[in-house]
């Protein structure tokens, strides 16, 4: 895309939303707290949504079972962190990292491996048939959720933040929880890595080309199937990572969390435009901010506010803010 005709309007939506609600919230310090919390939540949602949107863009496959990888990642993290009590109990952030990083890596590996199997046995037989895809992946989601219940039990498991990540940092009057800052940093790192892979490497070039015109890439001799499997596995692994972060954010995990987050992810994808990565980022930030603002102003309307937001965006751009030109 030419730098000069970059479509800036959707990007402006995020600050516009943040400024619009400012008068309703009143106190600047509360506003800062909520905005940072919203951005942190948005970054986590983006990590989860990015894989799903790429998979759809590449192969026209919408995976309704994406939520399973979120829950799987979070539950793996409870096991790993539970086994590393010495590290999580320490008050030093760096020692905590020694526990959280392996938990994230293991969660990503497990989610990625399950993703590989999911692609092979659930998704591959129904390429090109949307109706069956929706049905099958939904079935896969239910099976996955039930298997999680068999392994870890059906009840809520606490996932306490490691000692060093708790607490609040004050900037003037505005208190910001440490973990939210960490989430923003991790989110930015993942976003940067994704951006780098997508725009600066050959694989990224092929992925972007495949999203735009699959047949052309195939006719140039690239096996787009392999590329797709790779993207699917990475997407599942990212969902697992997002699950760990979501679990730490909520400080507890339930087997149903996959289905709950899935709903948010779908709203994000619809807002962003199916298949668009930058759209997914904007959608995720909007949803994260909206959820935190309404959670503060009218707690009962949290989920509805996101649906209202989605409806408003669809009135403006029926295909989502960045529609793929297909």
């Amino acid at each position: 895309m030419n730098k000069f005709d970059f479509d800036w309007k959707p990007v402006a939506l995020v600050p516009v939303l943040a400024l619009l609600v400012f008068p309703f919230i009143g106190s600047p310090s509360t506003w800062v707290t909520l905005t940072v919390a919203g951005l942190a939540m948005g970054m986590i949602i983006f990590i989860i949504a990015s894989g799903l949107t790429l998979v759809f863009g590449l192969m026209d496959v919408l995976n309704f079972g994406h939520g399973v990888f979120i829950a799987l990642g979070a539950f793996v993290a409870t096991s790993v962190l539970g086994a590393m009590g010495d590290y999580t109990g320490s008050s030093s952030l760096w020692v905590n990292m020694m526990a959280v990083l392996p938990a994230m890596v293991v969660a990503m590996l497990v989610a990625g491996a399950v993703g590989l199997a999911f692609e092979r046995f659930i998704v591959r037989p129904v390429y090109g048939n949307h109706l069956k895809q929706i049905l099958i992946t939904m079935g896969g989601m239910i099976i996955g959720e039930e298997l999680i219940k068999v392994i870890w039990g059906p009840l809520q498991i606490p996932l306490p933040l490691p000692e060093g990540m708790r607490g609040t940092i004050f900037f003037g009057d505005a208190g910001i929880e440490k973990y939210r800052l960490i989430a923003v940093v991790v989110g930015l790192l993942v976003f940067g890595a994704l951006l780098w892979v997508l725009t600066r490497t050959k694989i990224g070039l092929l992925i972007r080309a495949g999203v735009q015109d699959r047949e052309m890439v195939e006719s140039l001799g690239y096996r787009i199937k392999m590329l797709f499997i790779g993207v699917f596995v990475v997407g599942s692994a990212l969902a697992g990572l997002g699950g760990v972060m979501w679990g730490l954010y909520q400080q507890s995990v339930v087997p149903q969390m996959g289905a709950q987050v899935n709903v948010l992810i779908f709203i994000v994808l619809i807002i962003g435009g199916l298949g668009s990565t930058s759209g997914a980022l904007i959608g995720a930030l909007l949803v994260g901010l909206m959820a935190n603002y309404t959670g503060f102003l009218v707690p009962k309307a949290a989920l509805f506010s996101n649906i209202a937001l989605m409806m408003a965006i669809l009135l403006w751009r029926p295909q989502g803010v960045y529609a793929l030109s297909k």
Binding site: L62, I122, L131, L135, I136, M138, M311, L314
Partner: protein, 355 residues
Amino acid sequence: MLTRLLSNDFPRSRILAVLLVVLLFALAFAPFLFPGVKALNVAAKILVFIVLVASFDLLLGYTGIVSFAQTMFFGIGAYGIAIASTGMGPGWTAIAVGLVVSLALSFVLALAVGLFSLRVRAIFFSMITLAVAAAFQTLASQLSDITGGEDGLTFKMPEVLSPGFQWAQEPLFGVSLDGRLLCYYLLFVVTLVALLAMLRIVNSPFGRVLQAIRENEFRAEAIGYPVVVYRTTSSVLSALFATVAGALLAIWLRYNGPDTSLSFEVMLDVLLIVVIGGMGTIYGAAVGAGIFVFAQSYLQDLLKLASEATGSLPWLSALLSPDRWLLWLGLLFVLSVYYFPTGVVGRLRALRAGG
């Protein structure tokens, strides 16, 4: 006469015809053939599910779009009756008001969701219905002053439909002629009429257009049929029938809560029945609902026995526990979509065409 009633859409398979007649006969005389409270409850549940599943088949099987909000409309119907009967006291006016209000609400919601999502891509519809249904479920448990929250609402029906009402002193064939019996036949008649109405809809010119859109959306649009309008109309019709099914459920149970009508589990049941029965055949909904509800009501006991029998192998026992019922449903669902996509009705019809 029969041709008119069935809208010229015959079962087209001898075995299927026999199955349908047996089902009709069994449901029509269920109170006399299968005495006992549980048997009658199972029969009534089959009736409610026939309407619900057929309404979903209108969307999935005939129009080719997947909605995850069918239980939302089902719930609206059930809550309509429940809230009206609780607020206004038992009576026919309460039932009428509840039904009309919930039908209107379903109409508006289905229209809004359809217009917003179907003008872009059919896949949007699935995603948006999932989101809206989740939001509605949260709302229903949050507004506990009106909906009773997680506990739900227990309410009374007009006296004529209550078990205490005896309209004949002498029992007939050993069955006491009470309000419960009348209630059952109310359900039976409404189900029969709704099923025939849906059969009429899918065999009308309108239904043909829906099937044309299912087969090839682009071509249907090119011939000059506005796809969005047809798909939205179909989703509205489907929502209205689901609302009626919900109202029937509430009338029968005299109770409604989130688990009975709104939960995702019910949605999964509906999906599975449509696939097992055969997508795109209203008869499949009837046969599927009959088989499935019957199996569900009695198989869970079997699963419990199996779980207890394998108590020495804790891992296997955990898999077979009745709490893991959904696991087996999910597996069955995935396998049916792969290996049994045309369902019972499709198989039976293919059998006849082949031999």
